[in-house]
């Protein structure tokens, strides 16, 4: 029973051997072709977001300079920017280096940094130089797309993580203790639900300096109510089950009951909601960008590029198409994975035999 928690927690395939229900879930999930494809897409996106600095960068992957070997782009992958050897590169203008044939080097596939502006090439069509064209400051859209991947994924995960944390906490307390605790928490949930979503966002933005993390916090603290409600319902259900009653009769502490018995059993449906929540968070980030409250420049996000596209919709189709597609594919992938999980974790559903 306990293993299910570990399993549904990870969207990546489980490799550990666990004979229990996690195996069953995994086996069921594997049979769902759409869900599997979606899962692979998410994994690939994660890889892209991690590898963005070596895929799209104006720094070379390798270069020979002053008779020493340097790997400037690779160093960007790690928080090791202060290595002594690389200090001399600090003030180097890599965008000028690009056209300098005297330095031997290997460039990343997309040889532009997401921040590098070039007004002379603003809003240029997709071409061999700029695979996805450029934006209104002449920045390479392809590079921005790669670097924006991480933002979208991070926003989704962290925001939902926060929502999960708050939602589970309140939901489980309300569901487990019931009575006065339940009444107070339920009122609180109602209060939060009654606020128009963007009022909360605006007020948080008025208080906190806007940054990618604050955006995540905002989305997190506004999206937890449905999770809390779900968790509360599940707790109510599980609380009445025999094994919980038995544990209680045996004098097991509340904390232990909650964490060892109830939570693992009620978490599956909550996690399904969370998967959908990630999809939603990505869309919300895009909407916030539309309202000019997205992440801070010069960082790129898909939503930010898309919001920009609005201005140029009839002259720069590439600005709308690529981020639109990226959001579309990612959100669909999350939703289909969520759907797959839901089917796979539902013990009552019978799968068609093949």
């Amino acid at each position: 029973m306990n293993d299910r928690r570990a399993n549904t927690n990870n969207s990546a395939p489980q490799t550990e051997k666990s004979p229990g229900s996690s195996r069953i879930v995994w086996r069921r999930l594997r049979r769902d072709r759409l869900a599997m494809i979606s899962l692979y897409i998410i994994v690939i996106l994660f890889l892209i977001s991690c590898l963005a600095p070596v895929v799209a960068n104006n720094k070379p992957l390798w270069m020979r300079w002053n008779d020493r070997d340097y790997f400037p782009a690779v160093v960007d992958l790690f928080p090791l920017k202060h290595i002594v050897k690389y200090r001399s590169l600090q003030s180097m203008d890599f965008s000028e280096l690009r056209d300098d044939a005297s330095v031997r080097r290997v460039m990343p596939p997309v040889p532009y940094s997401p921040f590098e502006t070039n007004l002379r090439e603003k809003l240029s069509h997709p071409s061999r130089r700029h695979w996805m064209g450029t934006d209104d400051l002449g920045r390479d859209v392809c590079s921005r797309m790669f670097h924006g991947t991480g933002v979208s994924l991070k926003v989704g995960f962290v925001a939902v993580g926060i929502a999960l944390l708050i939602g589970l906490l309140f939901g489980s307390l309300a569901g487990y203790y019931g009575g006065a605790v339940d009444i107070v928490i339920s009122r609180f949930i109602e209060i939060v639900m009654c606020f128009p979503f963007f009022f909360l966002i605006l007020s948080v933005i008025a208080f906190l300096p806007p940054s990618i993390y604050n955006i995540m916090i905002v989305i997190g603290i506004t999206r937890w109510t449905s999770i809390a409600r779900y968790a509360r319902g599940e707790f109510l259900k599980v609380k009445k089950q025999d094994y919980t009653q038995a544990a209680r009769a045996l004098g097991v502490s509340d904390r232990k009951i909650i964490f060892r018995h109830i939570l693992p059993n009620s978490i599956a449906p909550v996690l399904v909601t969370a998967t959908f929540g990630i999809a939603n968070a990505i869309l919300i980030e895009a909407a916030l960008s539309f309202l000019g409250m997205g992440i801070q420049p010069p960082y790129a996000s898909w939503g930010g590029i898309l919001a920009l596209a609005r201005e140029f919709i009839d002259v720069a189709w590439w600005l709308a198409t690529f981020p639109g597609l990226a959001i579309f594919v990612t959100v669909t992938a999350y939703n289909l994975t969520g759907e797959g999980f839901r089917d796979a974790t539902d013990p009552r559903l019978s799968l068609p035999e093949k």
């Binding site: 979503f197 605006l202 007020s203 579309f328 669909t332 559903l349």
Partner: protein
């Protein structure tokens, strides 16, 4: 049942108080105040200290926050929401002007969404794992994954600009009122098409999957199996036994959807120049128009709470399994 209803009604009061207090504190403590906002929009050449203080007094900003809240509350008892700081009109008037457009649009969209998603969900459930179920589900999720402002702009470009078949600005054409009832009605309906589509397509996935899920639960119930075993046809089973029972969760769902319906969609109202409540809320928060913000959040909260209550009561009334402890 009656005590249950009364108790739920009694709960409304602390909830409402909580909402107003939280809103009041947030909006008042947010950096920037209405007088500064006024100046920032226009920046007079040398406003005197005297008029600056007088303006603050005029708006009641010279008093401490708890006093202001109590004043607001006292006025509320007589249904006086005060006057907007921005244009000095009664808040209640501003809201009553903006609420109908939002409601019209959202009710139309909700209606459309239910009309489409209930049959879709039912059929998917009955034909679980069929091609229809799979493809339909996937397509709906794909729709849901499209950012709404993007779709809105594409639709405007296509139907509004390229084909020029649908209007995309506001609720009605200027002067349409003078054309007589039916042309006017047609004009209004045409103006609603694009915003309604944008508001609806996203919720289809959610709703129809929900209907599908709850139908599946019902289908697995014993009485359905019994009915099937008795040899009743699929269609009859579905409509006689299943459909009726899935309506209960749909009712609950309505309760969840209502907050979004009433508060409106800022982005779509902005794009379609729709004079709704979302845009008003947005504008008042940005300009720190405290009375309007308070009025809006109070009225929307009341409406949301009441409608959730009604949904819950309907649910409790129609579902014998729910006990009112």
């Amino acid at each position: 049942m009656l005590t249950y209803t009364l108790r739920r009604l009694a709960y409304l009061i602390p909830t409402l108080l909580g909402i107003t207090i939280v809103t009041f504190v947030i909006i008042s403590l947010a950096p920037g105040d209405p007088v500064d906002m006024m100046r920032s929009g226009v920046m007079s050449s040398g406003i005197s200290q005297e008029s600056y203080n007088e303006m603050r007094r005029l708006y009641g900003l010279d008093k401490p926050i708890h006093v202001r809240y109590i004043i607001w509350l006292r006025r509320l008892v007589t249904f006086d929401f005060g006057n907007s700081f921005l244009d000095h009109r009664p808040v209640i008037k501003k809201i009553s002007e903006r609420l109908p457009p939002t409601l019209i649009l959202n009710i139309a969209s909700l209606f459309l969404a239910l009309l489409l998603s209930i049959p879709l969900g039912l059929y998917s459930a009955v034909r679980q794992y069929s091609l229809f179920d799979k493809v339909g589900g996937t397509v709906l999720y794909m729709l849901y994954s499209l950012p709404e402002f993007w779709v809105a702009l594409l639709l405007i470009m296509l139907f509004g600009v390229k084909l020029q078949v649908l209007p995309f600005i506001g609720m009605e054409s200027v002067g349409a009122r003078d054309l007589g009832f039916f042309p006017y009605l047609l004009d209004r309906i045409l103006h609603m098409i694009l915003p309604t589509i944008c508001l609806t397509y996203g919720s289809l996935a959610f709703l129809s999957r929900f209907v599908r899920g709850s139908t599946l639960e019902v289908i697995r119930q014993d009485y359905v199996r019994t009915a099937k075993a008795k040899g009743l046809g699929d269609a009859r089973v579905v409509y006689k036994h299943v459909f009726k029972n899935t309506l209960i969760p749909v009712l609950t769902l309505l309760g969840i959807l209502l907050p979004t319906i009433i508060s409106g969609s800022v982005i779509l109202e902005f794009i379609f120049s729709w004079p709704g409540i979302g845009a008003l809320f947005f504008e008042s928060v940005l300009s720190r128009d405290y009375p309007t913000v308070m009025g809006l959040s109070f009225i929307t909260a009341v409406m949301v709470l009441l409608s959730t209550l009604i949904a819950d009561l309907l649910c409790a009334w129609s579902d014998p399994r729910i006990t009112y402890e």
